[in-house]
């Protein structure tokens, strides 16, 4: 079965002004998978989403959604997908309920079904209280939740979310995450999300592809990506600088770095190296006063592969 899958093969998108925003991108998303497209500003994330969701035409390559070719049968693809674009698309003069009901009617629900579905979705995104206020009075977070609800009206098997939490406060962000996870885990919805936030990709995604300058520069599961950069950092604090210096002497066969009373040791696997290090130090009567181990974050991967610190949270 191909339902709920996304297959992108050598996708190229060149805009009218000859600018190539997406350059030979390929990936596959399985049914029920949560896929994160990670990249800095201008990387080509939104462009990819627009092509995948029938808003924009591809220049070359192919895109298949639920087994349907996007270029050949965009109409059919629209029944399979729900899309939350980067900029919310709401008629500010309509209430949340009216917008949801209208969306339902567009997807061929009867008036009664549409109003039932609207009620259901208002509860899902926590807007029941606000249902009859016009959306122009909504906060940014409320607008996003309403936008999300509108894309769910026809129970799409694949959900596209272009930067779903950019500009939201931590609380709203958590609530969107929770909803995405629920849809993904409980309802088996395939999720394609773009984000500039590594923690978001780390939190939600089964697969991450990092795009920069229109090209995919790294990809894999969050764990694989972290492993590719690979090193853990052990920090040890000593009571005096002399002791710290002595410690450096002892550990000089390793990758050591000294700042005042602190020693940093970079290791492939901290859990394996740490006992050995502590034993070596003990032989010389040295004992760190404080100790911490840091595993690499996706931030490190991101900065390394995109060559920028932009967007790092």
């Amino acid at each position: 079965m191909t339902k709920g899958t996304i297959v992108v093969d050598h996708l190229v998108k060149t805009y009218k002004d000859k600018f190539t925003a997406v350059n030979d991108v390929s990936f596959t998303v399985g049914k029920g998978e949560c896929f994160a497209f990670l990249g800095p500003n201008g990387a080509g994330k939104s462009t990819t989403v627009k092509v995948l969701t029938t808003l924009s035409r591809l220049t070359s390559g192919s895109v298949t959604i639920s087994g349907i070719d996007v270029d050949e049968d965009p109409e059919k693809v629209r029944w399979e997908i729900g899309v939350v674009l980067q900029d919310t698309g709401l008629d500010s003069n309509l209430t949340a309920r009216e917008l949801l009901e209208l969306q339902g009617r567009i997807f061929h629900l009867s008036g009664k079904e549409a109003s039932f579905r609207a009620e259901e979705l208002l509860a899902v995104v926590g807007l029941t209280e606000e249902a009859d206020r016009t959306s122009k009075k909504f906060s940014g977070g409320m607008k996003r939740r309403l936008d999300l609800a509108m894309t769910l009206v026809h129970r799409p098997g694949i959900l596209f979310l272009d930067e779903p939490t950019t500009g939201l406060d931590p609380l709203n962000r958590k609530s969107i995450w929770k909803e995405i996870r629920r849809l993904n885990r409980e309802e088996g919805t395939t999720v394609f999300l773009t984000t500039q936030y590594l923690e978001e990709a780390d939190e939600l995604a089964d697969q991450i592809q990092i795009i920069s300058g229109g090209k995919i520069v790294a990809g894999g599961t969050p764990a694989e990506l972290k492993q590719s950069i690979g090193k853990d950092v052990i920090s040890m604090q000593f009571v005096s600088e002399t002791e710290a210096k002595k410690a450096r002497e002892v550990l000089n066969k390793r990758d050591v770095f000294l700042i005042e009373n602190d020693i940093r040791v970079t290791e492939e696997k901290a859990s394996a190296a740490l006992p050995v290090i502590l034993r070596e130090l003990q032989e010389f009567g040295l004992e760190p006063a404080a100790l911490s181990v840091a595993e690499p974050t996706l931030d490190d991967v991101f900065i390394q592969v995109t060559g920028s610190s932009e967007g790092a949270s």
Binding site: R78, T88, G89, L102, I106, H108
Partner: protein, 258 residues
């Protein structure tokens, strides 16, 4: 087919709801129409004594102007609504659904036509209170409404074209300014025979509004005279064909994917 009707219905309903929630977008236009009726009949009615008016009442003479300006207001709203959708991103959201594309444009147009009918009826009601007599009787009133809707459609086609091309509110607003030369370079306040400046006379002769006004005035003042009616409807029909075709072309472009 059923989808087409449902989509057109729900999107028309939406446009009407939006109109009703923003009475300020309707009122200025209604005000201008009423203004024509009251101020000019009050202030200029003396000139109807001139022989060129052939004994016509100035109220009957100015009423078509008032109706035309109401029609243009209702029709211009259609374009403005589309611009609002383009700017808010709702248009893009609609394009991502299987909505019948035509309904996106038809909804605001139909709502504009309904607004126009309500406004025209109000103005006619007012005119009757002021003592209006329609020579051609009830059929004449229907002709007036038909002219209003016809002209409204032509102008709606124009405003939709401008909206879809410009994609921003200022430009769309600027586009509706064409309304002024169209309305004033015509037999708006005096019959053609009384226009003295040669250039103004030429402008009035090539201005379609002139034939629209003549057609409406004929049923009001002279009863059933075919020549101005036929000319009027031909001109309005031609204007509709041109602007609606243009709007279809620009809609097609707006719906096509980059």
């Amino acid at each position: 087919m059923k989808a087409f009707f449902v989509h057109t219905y729900v999107l028309t309903k939406r446009s009407i709801v939006v109109l009703l929630r923003n009475p300020l977008t309707i009122l200025p236009n209604l005000f201008i129409s009423v203004f024509f009726l009251f101020v000019y009949t009050g202030g200029l009615s003396g000139i109807a004594q001139l022989p060129q008016f052939e004994g016509a009442d100035y109220l009957s003479f100015i009423l078509p102007v008032s109706i035309v300006s109401a029609a243009i207001g209702g029709a211009g709203g259609a374009g403005q609504e589309l611009v609002r959708d383009l700017e808010s991103g709702y248009f893009a959201r609609l394009l991502q659904t299987p909505v019948t594309r035509l309904a996106i444009v038809l909804g605001p147009i139909i709502a504009g036509m309904l607004q126009l009918l309500v406004q025209t009826s109000l103005i006619l009601g007012l005119a009757f209170l002021l003592g209006l007599q329609v020579e051609a009787g009830l059929g004449g009133v229907l002709v007036l409404l038909l002219f209003a809707v016809g002209w409204g459609l032509a102008f709606a086609g124009y405003s939709v074209t401008v909206a879809l091309k410009a994609k921003n509110a200022q430009a769309a607003q600027a586009g509706t300014l064409i309304f002024f030369p169209l309305l004033f370079l015509s037999t708006t306040f005096v019959p053609l025979e009384l226009i003295e400046a040669g250039w103004l006379r030429t402008a009035a002769v090539i201005n379609p509004t002139t034939y629209l006004l003549e057609g409406m005035r004929s049923v009001l003042i002279d009863g059933w005279v075919w020549q101005p009616l036929v000319t009027g409807f031909l001109v309005v029909g031609a204007a509709c064909v041109v602007t609606i075709s243009l709007s279809v072309i620009s809609a097609r472009r707006a719906f096509s994917r980059e």
